[in-house]
């Protein structure tokens, strides 16, 4: 009778196999099993930090704003095409205002109040960053290629928002969108062999992290704005 393999012993330990009869009659395998058992039992003691009874509520508070700002509800209040159109209109107005005022600096789009312009940017850019983040995460984590149309769509929106942000004098958003655009361009133009290089680029630029932080900052600002506007 041959002895039990390490795999059989493991299956016996996890009760996915039953080797009791052999173990009862074979001291050598019994010893082997005892050693395996001691090692695996030790893994039970690996500590896990405690989370108290209020932890679920804490997690809820952290994610609730992102759930409330879901596209499903936002679509009704603020459709994406309308958002893009609004930003385009902002740019167009700014262009004409600059052209007719003939000043050295183009005047801002005075037809739309500054606060509204800011909000349009915040909501559209926040949404854009969230979608970009998802695409970049897919590039990094998934073996499947990302659909080119999605990247192209993000790129053209990115250009629009970048111009609008610059026009509004919003420096941090402008810089972030410039960076994002460089990375999106690389993703769009990468051939399958480039995947490794593009992944390294995304990771080395830390762009995913920046996009995530900026996205949540914009969402928080929007939340504050909504609360203030109710008062």
């Amino acid at each position: 009778m041959s002895h039990l393999s390490e795999e059989q012993l493991m299956l016996h330990y996890y009760r996915e196999g039953d080797e009791s009869r052999h173990l009862d009659s074979c001291p050598a395998c019994r010893n082997e099993f005892a050693a395996l058992q001691a090692a695996l039992d030790a893994a039970d003691d690996l500590p896990v930090p405690e989370r108290g009874a209020g932890y679920g509520g804490e997690v809820w508070r952290r994610i609730a704003p992102r759930i409330a700002a879901r596209p499903r509800t936002r679509v009704i209040q603020f459709p994406r095409w309308a958002a893009i159109a609004a930003v385009a209109a902002m740019l167009l107005l700014a262009f004409y205002a600059g052209r007719f005022s003939r000043g050295p600096q183009p005047a801002p789009a005075t037809a739309i109040p500054a606060e509204v312009r800011e909000r349009i940017l915040r909501v559209t850019v926040g949404d854009h960053l969230e979608r970009s983040q998802r695409v970049l995460a897919e590039v990094v984590n998934s073996e499947d290629p990302v659909e080119p149309e999605r990247v192209e769509g993000l790129l053209s929106e990115n250009r629009l928002y970048r111009q609008a942000a610059r026009r509004e004098g919003n420096v941090p958003v402008t810089i972030l969108l410039e960076e994002l655009e460089r990375v999106l361009l690389e993703v769009a133009h990468a051939v399958p062999d480039d995947r490794g290089r593009v992944r390294r680029l995304i990771e080395s630029e830390g762009i995913l992290f920046k996009v995530r932080v900026a996205g949540s900052t914009l969402r928080d600002k929007e939340k504050i704005w909504k609360v203030k506007s109710w008062l």
Partner: protein, 190 residues
């Protein structure tokens, strides 16, 4: 108002996002434990818990009720953790390129001086195990945690991680071998 998971899911589907709160409050602690064991650190575990719920909310229509909600959440968390470990290992590789066989080598950590004190000894065992866990491949680690700590059957692990049951068995087995080899010096067995 004590909804079952299924009732809460139904309500979320009709647009009642507050019903999702019930789900979050009910499953957060278990998910954190799973995520911490899978990722080995608190920031990643927190990130995983949040991302799991956000993904679950977005995909709530895809939940078909064939498995329990808990298993479905575990599935999302396990796969996201795997991505996190993969990203972390890639980052580390950039800093410190691994030699070609490192991933496949089953190695024992250097033996430490024997400590008579039982507490110190178990602390040492934990440290060795913790390091050995970090050296597992993302798949091995996920499969091992699901089998060892969560008591999932190999078939279920396969379903959660999207691999064949036999591949799940192999992953758990490789993890067990690696952990055992790492522990050998401390456990005093050959």
């Amino acid at each position: 108002m004590e909804w079952t998971d299924q009732e809460a899911v139904e309500r979320v589907r009709t647009g009642d996002s507050d019903a999702f709160r019930v789900i979050v409050e009910r499953h957060s602690r278990n998910l954190f434990r799973l995520a911490f064991r899978m990722t080995g650190n608190e920031p990643d575990a927190e990130d995983c818990v949040q991302e799991t719920f956000l993904r679950a909310y977005r995909q709530i229509r895809a939940f078909d009720g064939r498995s329990s909600l808990r298993t479905w959440l575990y599935c999302i968390a396990a796969n996201y953790s795997r991505d996190l470990i993969r990203m972390r290992q890639r980052r580390q590789e950039r800093i410190q390129p691994p030699d070609a066989e490192a991933g496949d080598r089953i190695e024992a950590l250097p033996a430490q001086a024997p400590l008579p004190d039982r507490v110190a000894w178990s602390g040492q065992v934990r440290e060795i195990l913790g390091t050995a866990m970090d050296r597992l491949s993302p798949l091995e680690r996920s499969a091992f945690v699901l089998r060892h700590h969560e008591g999932k059957r190999l078939e279920e692990i396969g379903a959660i991680l999207g691999i064949q049951p036999n591949a799940a068995k192999q992953s758990v087995f490789r993890a067990v071998q690696k952990l055992r080899r790492a522990l050998q010096p401390a456990m005093g067995v050959r």
